[in-house]
Symmetry: C2
Subunit: 297 residues, 2 copies
């Protein structure tokens, strides 16, 4: 069903056409757009009404779309000569009735409804199939702008100690076990104890929960103990939903009293790396990119 | 290290001695105590200061103890001729510095410290070994009072429909995958999507989170969709930490807009079953005991 993933070499054929970015919430879409522009390729943003940040959008060529306006999107993207598309940014799962459906979407309804059963990954790859069926090519944000992903090793001044390394290993093992269930991509582990696992609430809410549990005394840990681990789901199509971290993640991790953040190098988007590193260095957190043990296609 | 689990037959030898109940928070300790008394066996409660409900405790023979007063506990329990012990009720994980340690506990410190690394199950079985080392026998609440566990099938008027049965299967499969990590015993699943997984926050907080995500629109579900699943961890020593549900669980599940509750029959304690069933029937929830697929020793 799904086209084979395009490697960097295959992408060369289309770099003269503008890259279309369908943008959800957060700062990651703009980090990707700027990185692509710096590489000399034009971009056209398709910000999703209600999710994308209007002030940031205005700095780029763009056309607002509403979720579900597949027909309108296809017309606009073709007029802009976009062939390659990236889906990027946060998107709270909508209800079917909340979608503004146009005829282009209605023709695809059976596929949309199938996508709405099951987890997020299922939803996103279903949507990806819709775009590919209309002749577009879905590419991953980290394929068009590899510099936006976490490098291997420590990003700032601090590195994990032995206890943190134990927690990181435990956390990645847990995420590997849960990824078959198409759920969140993050957990918090301290002294090998799993304190929180992310599902529909998102990473920010999970970190706030850890901070609250510490405040109320539900969990009692030494200062600066515990690690936030984030990883892409195994076997997930990484074009659609790579995990991301940014300065706000570091602030929340510090507020939760944790020692640091561990992500998978090359498979995690780092939004605003300079501000993230500053926030981590200031609060004494480590941020580390770990080797990707999953074989990649 | 651990003595073999005593089956119901083996328990017969000690039914003339009072059963010692070390009581944490909640109503489950009193449900167990009353069920054991009804069977004609005397009980002595050892309520934990700061956790057990003082008003409820006063209805039974009891001696207050502080967490960590292992020496004091041993003296009192021997004076009361208790040989069999049940650990029951909620216990927020304490910090080591919060424990009031006496000499009996200090002698066991290496064991205590080992217990504090790793998950809850690890902690509880470490504590269990301390009691067994002092000559007591740890028994499960559901061995001395099997009538306090969930029966097979629907507990009230309502039963799960086909969609709910799918969610129940998905939820139990998820809990089986995570139980190797010694974490929570509950999750919420709707339309096969995992909305929340419990770790250190507890079932109540997880249900409140689902209610809040619905309120803010982070998740959008039809009315009465989704299931709370609870299961004991696999390979866990069930003497120490069976999952439990009660009337308050039903109230929270209703508030989260879910369709019902699924537990493992015979391996889940039901506190105040009459009030639970009333609450479920009143709010249209199903509460169902499912077959235990894990081979039991």
């Amino acid at each position: 069903m799904m086209a084979l993933r395009a490697g960097p070499r295959a992408l060369e054929g289309h770099v003269d056409t503008p890259l279309g970015l369908i943008c959800g919430a957060g700062t990651v879409p703009f980090a990707v757009a700027t990185a692509v522009q710096r590489r000399g390729r034009p971009v056209v943003l398709f910000p999703l009404r209600g999710w994308a940040d209007a002030a940031a959008v205005s700095a780029y060529p763009h056309h607002w779309i509403a979720l579900g306006q597949f027909g309108r999107f296809c017309r606009l993207a073709r007029a802009e000569r976009c062939r390659d598309l990236v889906l990027v940014g946060g998107l709270v799962r909508p209800s079917l009735t909340q979608l503004r459906l146009d005829w282009g979407t209605l023709r695809q309804m059976p596929l949309v409804i199938r996508s709405f059963r099951g987890g997020d990954d299922h939803l996103l790859s279903g949507i990806g199939r819709m775009f590919e069926g209309a002749g577009f090519r879905m590419v991953a944000a980290h394929e068009v702008a590899p510099e936006i992903t976490a490098p291997l090793g420590a990003l700032g001044r601090f590195s994990p100690d032995r206890a943190a390394e134990d927690d990181i290993a435990q956390g990645f093992a847990l995420l590997a076990a849960t990824s078959a269930f198409d759920i969140g991509q993050a957990a918090v582990v301290s002294s090998r104890r799993v304190l929180a696992i992310e599902a529909a609430e998102g990473t920010d809410a999970m970190l706030d929960r850890v901070a609250a549990m510490r405040e109320t005394g539900r969990i009692r840990l030494p200062a600066s103990a515990g690690v936030l681990v984030k990883a892409p789901k195994r076997r997930q199509d990484r074009r659609f939903d790579l995990p991301s971290i940014g300065p706000d993640t570091a602030t929340r991790v510090a507020k939760a009293g944790l020692a640091g953040i561990a992500v998978i190098a090359g498979a995690t988007i780092v939004a605003e790396p300079q501000r993230l590193i500053e926030a981590a260095d200031r609060t004494g957190l480590f941020v580390v990119g770990c080797p990707d043990t999953e074989a990649q296609g």
